[in-house]
């Protein structure tokens, strides 16, 4: 007979501590069956340890929380009705039978033992149950169903939900079960509405599962007095399913995207906005992803073998346009005479100009100057003295007149003759050569050299008419009898400032002209002032010293434009260059030039060298002469009369080489006019930037006697392929190859399917041929 322990005494509820003590006292006394009439006491039937015999406790009446909490093996508790929360909390082995419903948190943290519930479980049942491998896992059996958030953080143990007469016919394990579940298993029978998919998975029962279930079902049903349901519950394994946790490995492998973005894009996004996405209407490239390194059309940059696209600085800076780079290339190819002869296609006077008097703008531009010193083009000029006459073109029968046999006129006549036209060259003086003959000091241009070259010119077959001063009448005749007229009359009208003493000043060209003749003034011991310190002024100064001057002062209103040899010679002789000074007067009597700042300088002889303008009185009105005195003409000599061309100093003041270049350009334009071809003004090629030339390849050469061969080898071949194969060697992808054409020419080509546009070809090219450009 069980001992009855009342939870109510004298209409007073027994304190939980007291009831617990009474149960323990009964057990201590050796009782094994105890009946508790509870009244909400906490923890009934728990912690009955330290006793040898199993104890069975039956409970009726309202029970408090944590019935059987911390219960141990050997304790069996049968509750006649429902229980409150946390039944079997931290169960360590007790068997607890609830013949009603269990409240929230049933079997929370249970580690061993069994919980049999005839009714339903509340919310948050089976949380944190675990399985200690030393013992059998805890079992939680629910005959009907369980509430929400079941089995959270379940780490072990078996839960069985039989699904008999569930409260919710659509879901027998409540809302959002198994969050954080890492161990154990849940067998259930009936419909559910989801579970934490990131924690557990849903499976059919295995035969072993089924066997276990059938075996353990019977004692459960017996305990809750529902054995009549055995057949129903065990007739169909297919009615049962189980939830088991993902393994740690599986959890790692869980795809975070149940719907991949690729699937979403096709099935949802593009279904909503249209195939190809929201921008598809506007783009015409494939939708594929590109790598960072691309070839072909997908490269950002592509190389271009721009051989000859840029002008080498020598050619670009030479006003006569002489392509020195071609001469050096021919020399490197062993074609010395060809190399030298080439120059005559550009200038009739290479030895006089290139070889002697030229300022050599080409050398100033030469890239070689970055390494040691520029190529010595003067030597090329000197070597051109003995060149034989080039071949003339087939006679065309066209007649052209050239007025003025200075450098410009000679150049134009030479070029026209080369093209086969009949040229009449008119010269007012007795000799041809213009300023070269009459004004350039002999010291700078030995006349034997000039004579030799003028001799070669005369052999060209140009009809030279010297001593013919062309006036208006004569011009009209010439105009009528020729198909084109090139005016190369130079500038012979000195600009004289309006000041006291101006009428006694000598114009520079008069001075220079006379200096080379018997009319030369005797300047012995005289003090000479040159107004205008340009290159002509420097020539004047040098000649003045030659004629005995004691002192020469060249004054200028600004930093003098003189440079090169002219300035060097004049200064080496003792010329004093002063600037900025504005001359206000010259008193011949006092022998003094006074400046606007009231300072003065002694002056017995004053030469005015501030420029000259052409004498244009002979020209018809159709040719426009600008207000400042020069003839209006473009870089090809075209004037406002289509038949008349004007070049050289008649158009604007310049160097001899400028006049020669202008003459050649005009000849091309005249030739076009005569042959009826359109004259295309070709934009001059842009000069190659210095940084494109890779000077690192070249060793510094010591200065020494100039040999043409050596000079040719010093040439960097700016902008012109030297066929060295560096690009081919540097290309990591083998995208560059050299292709030889039937005519003997070659080019380097790129295989776009291999090239990534890295620019190594451009980076290593010694000559700056390869250029990277935007890939359109």
């Amino acid at each position: 007979m069980a001992k009855v322990i009342e939870g109510n005494r004298n209409e007073q509820r027994t304190n939980s501590r007291v009831l617990d003590e009474e149960i323990r006292e009964a057990v201590r006394e050796g009782l094994t069956e105890i009946h508790v009439v509870a009244n909400g006491q906490h923890g009934i039937g728990g912690r009955l340890w330290g006793f040898p015999e199993p104890v069975t406790i039956t409970v009726e009446g309202p029970v408090g929380q944590r019935l059987g909490g911390m219960g141990i093996f050997g304790t069996k508790i049968i509750v006649k009705g429902s229980v409150s929360d946390d039944v079997g909390w931290l169960n360590c082995g007790a068997e607890i039978v609830v013949l009603g419903d269990a409240g929230n948190g049933a079997h929370n943290a249970a580690a061993q033992g069994k919980l049999y519930v005839r009714g339903s479980g509340g919310a948050r049942c089976d949380t944190m149950t675990k399985h200690n491998p030393k013992y059998d896992p805890p079992q939680s059996w629910y005959f009907r169903d369980v509430g929400d958030t079941f089995a959270e953080f379940k780490a072990g143990g078996i839960a069985v939900i039989c699904g008999v007469e569930p409260r919710n016919r659509n879901n027998i394990i409540g809302y959002r079960p198994c969050v954080g579940m890492v161990g154990g298993v849940i067998y259930f029978r009936g419909p559910i509405e989801g579970y934490s998919e990131s924690d557990v998975r849903l499976l059919e029962l295995t035969p072993q599962d089924w066997q276990w279930l059938k075996t353990n079902m019977r004692p459960f049903l017996r305990a809750i007095e529902r054995e009549d349901h055995y057949r129903e519950l065990t007739k169909d394994a297919g009615a049962w399913r189980k939830l088991i946790p993902l393994t740690a490995r599986e959890r790692e492998k869980t795809r975070p995207f149940t719907v991949s973005l690729g699937e979403f894009r096709k099935a949802v996004w593009e279904a909503g906005v249209g195939a190809g996405g929201i921008f598809a209407e506007y783009i015409d490239h494939p939708g594929t992803v590109l790598p960072y390194i691309t070839t072909g059309q997908d490269r950002r940059l592509r190389p271009s073998w721009n051989n000859g696209k840029y002008a080498p600085p020598c050619e670009y800076t030479c006003p006569s346009g002489i392509p020195t780079w071609q001469r050096t290339r021919l020399i490197r190819e062993g074609k010395l005479s060809e190399a030298l002869e080439l120059v005559l296609a550009y200038s009739p006077l290479p030895a006089s100009v290139c070889g002697e008097i030229c300022a050599h703008l080409c050398m100033q531009g030469c890239t070689r100057g970055l390494i040691d010193r520029p190529l010595d083009t003067e030597e090329f000029g000197k070597a051109s003295l003995e060149l034989s006459l080039p071949e003339r073109g087939k006679p065309t029968g066209k007649r052209v007149a050239v007025i003025g046999a200075g450098p410009g006129g000679l150049s134009a006549a030479w070029q026209l003759a080369l093209k086969g036209h009949s040229v009449d060259l008119y010269e007012a003086e007795e000799k041809i050569g213009g300023k070269l003959e009459y004004f350039i000091p002999k010291r700078r241009l030995p006349r034997r050299i000039l004579s030799a070259e003028l001799g070669r010119f005369r052999k060209m077959g140009v009809s030279v008419h010297t001593g013919v001063r062309v006036d208006r009448e004569r011009f009209d005749e010439i105009y009528a009898s020729h198909e084109a007229v090139v005016v190369a009359c130079g500038a012979h009208k000195p600009r004289i400032p309006d000041m006291k003493g101006a009428s006694d000043m000598v114009p520079a060209y008069d001075f220079l002209r006379r200096a080379n003749t018997k009319e030369a003034p005797d300047l012995a011991g005289k003090k000479v002032v040159v107004i205008g310190a340009g290159n002509v002024g420097m020539d004047v100064a040098a000649e003045a010293f030659r004629l005995g001057a004691a002192a020469v002062t060249a004054v200028d209103i600004q930093e003098p434009a003189s440079f090169g040899k002219e300035r060097e010679i004049a200064e080496s002789l003792g010329t004093k260059v002063v600037w900025p000074r504005f001359v206000s007067s010259w008193s011949v009597k006092k022998g003094k030039v006074t400046f606007t700042d009231r300072t003065s300088v002694e002056a017995d002889h004053v030469v005015i060298s501030i420029g000259d303008t052409p004498l244009t009185g002979f020209l018809p009105e159709a040719v426009h002469v600008k207000k400042d005195g020069w003839i209006e003409a473009d870089e090809a000599g075209h004037t406002t009369d289509p038949k008349i061309f004007a070049i050289g100093d008649a158009v604007s003041p310049g160097l001899v080489t400028h006049a020669i270049g202008h003459g050649r350009q005009a000849a091309l334009a005249v030739d076009a006019l005569l042959t009826g071809r359109p004259f295309y003004r070709t934009e001059p090629r842009p000069v190659i930037p210095f940084e494109r030339i890779k000077t690192a390849y070249y060793e510094v050469c010591k200065a020494g006697p100039v040999e043409l061969d050596a000079e040719a080898n010093r040439c960097l071949s700016c902008g012109v392929c030297r066929d060295c194969h560096m690009c081919e060697a540097a290309c990591h992808y083998g995208a560059i190859s050299r292709v030889e054409h039937e005519d003997g020419t070659y080019e380097y080509v790129v295989d776009d399917s291999l090239c990534i546009g890295c620019g190594f070809c451009a980076g290593v090219c010694p000559c700056g041929i390869w250029e990277m450009e935007e890939n359109p």
Binding site: R176, V259, I278, L290, Y292, A762
Partner: protein
């Protein structure tokens, strides 16, 4: 032409003057050219140099000279092509042979104005210090005082409201048969309100962003809404919106922006009859935190066919968005007129709110909006926001930090008892150091109803190279090496929109978890802790005092 012999290094810079020095390891390099092919600035280039060794190998002096010309990769000192440190070279180098290294002694700002054009760039403020937001921490950890929630287990519903919320007494409710009903008719205008996720993607335009980036973000937003059921919205930025998106159901996840250039709006207006849903909201942009007082300019070369179609402009022309809205001369006129017009465009069904750059005058704007029944909120963009193109001086020196700005505005609302009526949206430097959730939560606790992020998304979703040390930051020139801010298909096709979208989803999922981690100890799982500043403390007493929150140390 300049004479060759005179050329030297006159007026050249040295690499020491530049912000990044390219460290190139000659011994590792195999001269494959991947680095020079990928460099967006052409800051590195292949070249040749001479190596010359003079030695004597004998017992007495016997000179021997060995000379070699070798191929190298060289950094240019041309200021127009200076290395921005993006590191694309490092990314593609197969041999770890090249890397740009920051040069703290650089003199970029002394030189980056050739032609008299001030330095312009994209990116963000070049200020690597921690922002105010990073000095804030969540110090109210409830364990036993409030019901502590478990971020991993509890269900959270992190949502906010966009649009004006009427106070209960102004709601046109009436009681009918013991039931609360909305009064019919035009008793009182009930402003439209949207329930959205409190962190939104900020306004980045089609045009500023590449099509792959924009579509990636948009697709990610759609995924979050339709698969993850997170109502994340994205603001379009000025520059129109693709008609295909306008006419799709996804438009409800987008906030359309109108700014001073009004680009794309004729296209939008014409599309309205074909729209199947309303947009989430309309944002009227008055200012941008990254460049207050500076307008926008989409360079002609970025105005491709795509951009021209969407913006409704001819191809290849510069598209300026002036710093101010033209034809409006006062705050009342400007704000009221624009809000009215934009509300009307969608039949007063769509919330309309202005966005201003952080400023000391924000409260004036706020109080003006408070009086305007159609104003749906105020977005304030702080100085640490990003931009596609701006003057460096605007980026570095103009603007107002968001923390105190939003705080002042919120406290002003609270003083008037109207803090629940007009939502404040905070932006500008959220997640500057990567702490997106913490910064966003801090702003919410300072008083923001929502937080807008732009730059963070570029970094997290597309791996933007930019940082506060002026790395990369060439969003303005159309050569973004990541393909984020370029209209060149060769570059933007580096970006896979699916990958961008996936990252957007990942970012928001993890943001959501982190926000829960922050909100759970507050016992908040459904109500956003807007203005709950007792949960917030600063580790800096001055910041704490200024923000009127606690100081902890």
């Amino acid at each position: 032409m300049e004479s060759a012999v005179r050329l030297d290094h006159n007026h050249e810079l040295t690499v020491k003057d530049l912000p990044y020095i390219v460290v190139w390891r000659e011994d590792r390099c195999k001269r494959c050219g991947r680095c020079t092919a990928v460099c967006p600035m052409s800051a590195i280039e292949p070249s040749v140099v001479t190596r010359r060794e003079v030695s004597s190998g004998e017992a007495s002096p016997a000179p021997k000279v060995t000379r070699k010309t070798v191929v190298v990769v060289r950094q240019t000192t041309d200021i127009e092509r200076y290395c921005t440190g993006c590191g694309a070279c490092t990314l593609v180098c197969p041999n770890d042979a090249i890397e740009p290294v920051f040069n703290p002694q650089h003199k970029l700002l002394f030189h980056k104005n050739p032609g008299g054009h001030p330095y312009r760039r994209g990116g963000r403020r070049n200020d690597p210090r921690e922002s105010t937001l990073d000095h804030l921490k969540f110090t109210r950890i409830s364990m036993l005082t409030d019901p502590a929630l478990d971020a991993g287990r509890h269900e959270f519903r992190i949502r906010t409201y966009l649009g004006r919320i009427l106070p209960p007494e102004e709601m046109p409710f009436r009681v009918k048969e013991d039931k609360l009903m909305l009064a019919g008719g035009s008793v009182r205008f009930v402003p439209p309100v949207r329930e959205i996720y409190p962190v939104m993607i900020g306004s980045m335009s089609v045009g500023a962003l590449s099509p792959t980036m924009w579509e990636g973000l948009a697709m990610g937003v759609a995924y979050l809404n339709e698969v993850d059921h997170m109502p994340v919205v994205m603001a379009s930025g000025e520059g129109g919106i693709p008609p295909r998106l306008l006419k799709s159901r996804f438009i409800k996840y987008f906030i359309l922006q109108i700014a001073s250039g009004y680009f794309g709006w004729d296209e939008i207006i014409r599309a309205i009859p074909d729209m199947v849903d309303d947009p989430c909201a309309i944002e009227i942009k008055y200012g941008q935190g990254a460049k207050p007082g500076d307008g926008g300019l989409l360079m002609a070369e970025k105005v491709t066919k795509l951009i021209s179609e969407i913006r409704g402009v001819p191809q290849g022309v510069d598209l300026p968005s002036p710093p101010t809205h033209q034809t409006k001369y006062s705050i009342e006129e400007s704000v009221a007129k624009m809000i009215q017009a934009m509300s009307m465009a969608f039949g007063f069904r769509v919330p309309v709110y202005p966005k201003i750059s952080g400023t000391r005058t924000a409260k004036a704007v706020l109080n003006n909006l408070l009086r305007n029944p159609y104003a749906g909120g105020l977005s304030i963009d702080g100085e640490e926001g990003g931009t596609g193109a701006a003057y460096n001086v605007s980026l570095d020196k103009m603007g107002h930090p968001i923390a105190s700005n939003i705080r002042d505005c919120y406290l002003d609302l609270a003083r008037q008892g109207r803090q629940n009526e007009l939502p404040l949206i905070a932006a500008g430097g959220v997640g500057k150091k990567g702490g997106l959730a913490a910064n966003a939560a801090a702003l919410i606790m300072l008083g923001a109803s929502a937080v807008s992020v732009g730059k963070y998304m570029m970094q997290a979703a597309a791996g933007c190279f930019g940082d506060e040390m002026n790395r990369c930051n060439i969003c303005n020139i159309g050569r973004c090496p990541r393909g984020i801010t370029t209209q060149d298909p060769r570059l933007y096709r580096r970006l896979d929109p699916e990958k961008v979208a996936e990252r957007v989803v990942e970012v928001f999922r993890s943001l959501d978890v982190e926000l829960r981690k922050i909100f759970a100890p507050l016992g908040r799982s459904t109500e956003l802790p807007i203005g709950m500043s007792d949960a917030l403390c600063a580790d800096d007493a001055d910041i704490a005092e200024r923000l009127r929150i606690g100081y902890v140390c």
